[in-house]
């Protein structure tokens, strides 16, 4: 590999909601062009952590840097593509109208807009359903449309919160292939998941439990360190220790 650039740096980030501490002293570095997975059970704090990266939420203490700039900053908004865990789509509009709306927010117009809409919809295999009302979409289709919207403005960092929930294995496979393509074009992808086999496909993995980062490393490292065959086993070892 060439010289690895640091892309995201999370320093001593803690987050509390009232008395409940959701994130506890998280330290993490994510490099350019890698697929980084955040693995943890439901309620571990994955969504909360990812929101600190987007600047949508502020940590109670600690700092987040994106491209050496302290978050939150408006300058970096166009560099981030965020797909929330729950779909934020306009159900009474068609998929195309949703895409048009979001691309206009990013300042995409005319031919560029049409080209990007075609590209992202091809990627998530929704080209045939472009003119359907989103309210008539299935759950998986909505997830894919959200993914398409997150990728519309060709962001350098793609933050995806449980992107493949409700998507069938075949399509999941093709979406992961798309992630690999994006990665090769230099895009950094951060994915949260609670599905172990999905975690295997990430370059590096951060394991979260009860708001603490219990392990970081490549999937191979994590398995080797714990003498386990699968990520699932590794997770249990780290969690039980």
């Amino acid at each position: 590999m060439q010289k690895i650039e640091e892309c995201i740096s999370i320093n001593h980030v803690s987050k509390s909601f009232g008395k409940q501490q959701v994130l506890e002293d998280i330290n993490l570095k994510i490099f350019e062009g890698e697929i980084f997975g955040l693995l943890g059970p439901s309620g571990a704090g994955k969504t909360t952590l990812v929101k600190q990266l987007t600047g949508l939420d502020l940590p109670t203490s600690g700092e987040v840097y994106l491209f050496q700039k302290k978050m939150p900053t408006l300058k970096l908004i166009n560099s981030i593509g965020y797909m929330a865990q729950s779909d934020a789509l306009y159900e009474d509009l068609t998929a195309k109208e949703n895409l048009q709306f979001f691309s206009e927010l990013y300042g995409l117009k005319g031919k560029d807009q049409t080209r990007r809409i075609t590209e992202v919809m091809d990627l998530v295999q929704l080209s045939d359903d472009l003119t359907k009302l989103v309210s008539n979409y299935s759950g998986g289709m909505k997830r894919r449309l959200s993914l398409a919207i997150a990728m519309l403005h060709e962001p350098k960092i793609l933050i995806l919160d449980e992107p493949t929930v409700g998507i069938d294995p075949v399509l999941r496979q093709s979406i992961w292939e798309a992630f690999d393509l994006l990665k090769q074009s230099g895009i950094t992808i951060i994915v949260t998941t609670h599905v172990m086999d999905e975690a295997e496909k990430c370059d590096r993995l951060g394991m979260i439990r009860d708001g603490r980062l219990i392990a970081i490393g490549t999937t191979r490292e994590l398995k080797e360190q714990t003498n386990s065959k699968t990520i699932e086993e590794a997770f249990l070892v780290y969690g039980g220790a």
Binding site: Y90, L93, F101, E104
Partner: protein, 185 residues
């Protein structure tokens, strides 16, 4: 830029949303139609009896097509016809003073009759503002009685009153297919 995108999106959503469209377009039409039924009684052609109206005045009057005129020789037959609702009111001259007797159960009809009479009787409404025209009602309510002495040329309040009153009669009788005039009696 963003404002335009936002506006476009909201407009699209409004067009899609049937309930909002309904509130925005159908509801005003509905309300206006209802208001038209309540207030829009301008086209009514009153049927008016003339009792002993001097020939000179009739000649001066601008009768037109807006009212149906029946001439009576004496007040008694006019009153009978009024009671039988063949006419909506009659104009009677006692000496030089005109008097109006209205059937009075439907304010909108009374209003139309009065309006026509004021327009038709120039001597009453224009030349001689101080002259009082006496108005009587055959079935007049006590509320209407307050307006027995009707000062010609200052009929605004009277009309407003009629309208408000008419509203009330519609509220009372509104279920009968909108044939308000008949039912109100």
């Amino acid at each position: 830029m963003r404002v335009i995108a936002l506006t476009k999106r909201i407009l699209r959503q409004i067009v899609r949303d049937k309930r909002t469209m309904g509130l925005l377009i159908v509801a005003p039409i509905f309300v206006l139609t209802m208001l038209h039924f309540v207030f829009g009684n301008e086209e009514y052609t009153p049927e008016i009896g003339f009792v002993k109206v001097p020939e000179i005045i009739v000649q001066q009057m601008d009768v037109g097509d807006d009212a149906k005129i029946t001439t009576y020789d004496n007040e008694k037959t006019a009153k009978e016809d009024l009671a039988a609702r063949k006419i909506d009111g009659y104009l009677v001259f006692e000496g030089n003073n005109p008097a109006v007797v209205l059937e009075g159960s439907d304010p909108s009809v009374s209003g139309a009759t009065m309006k026509w009479l004021q327009n038709a009787l120039p001597s009453v409404s224009k030349n001689d503002n101080e002259q009082l025209m006496s108005i009587e009602y055959l079935h007049g309510s006590s509320e209407m009685g307050m307006f027995r002495l009707f000062r010609a040329g200052s009929c605004r309040i009277f009309r407003l009153f009629l309208r408000v009153f008419n509203c009330r009669s519609i509220v009372l009788t509104g279920t009968y297919n909108g044939h308000v005039r008949k039912i109100a009696r």
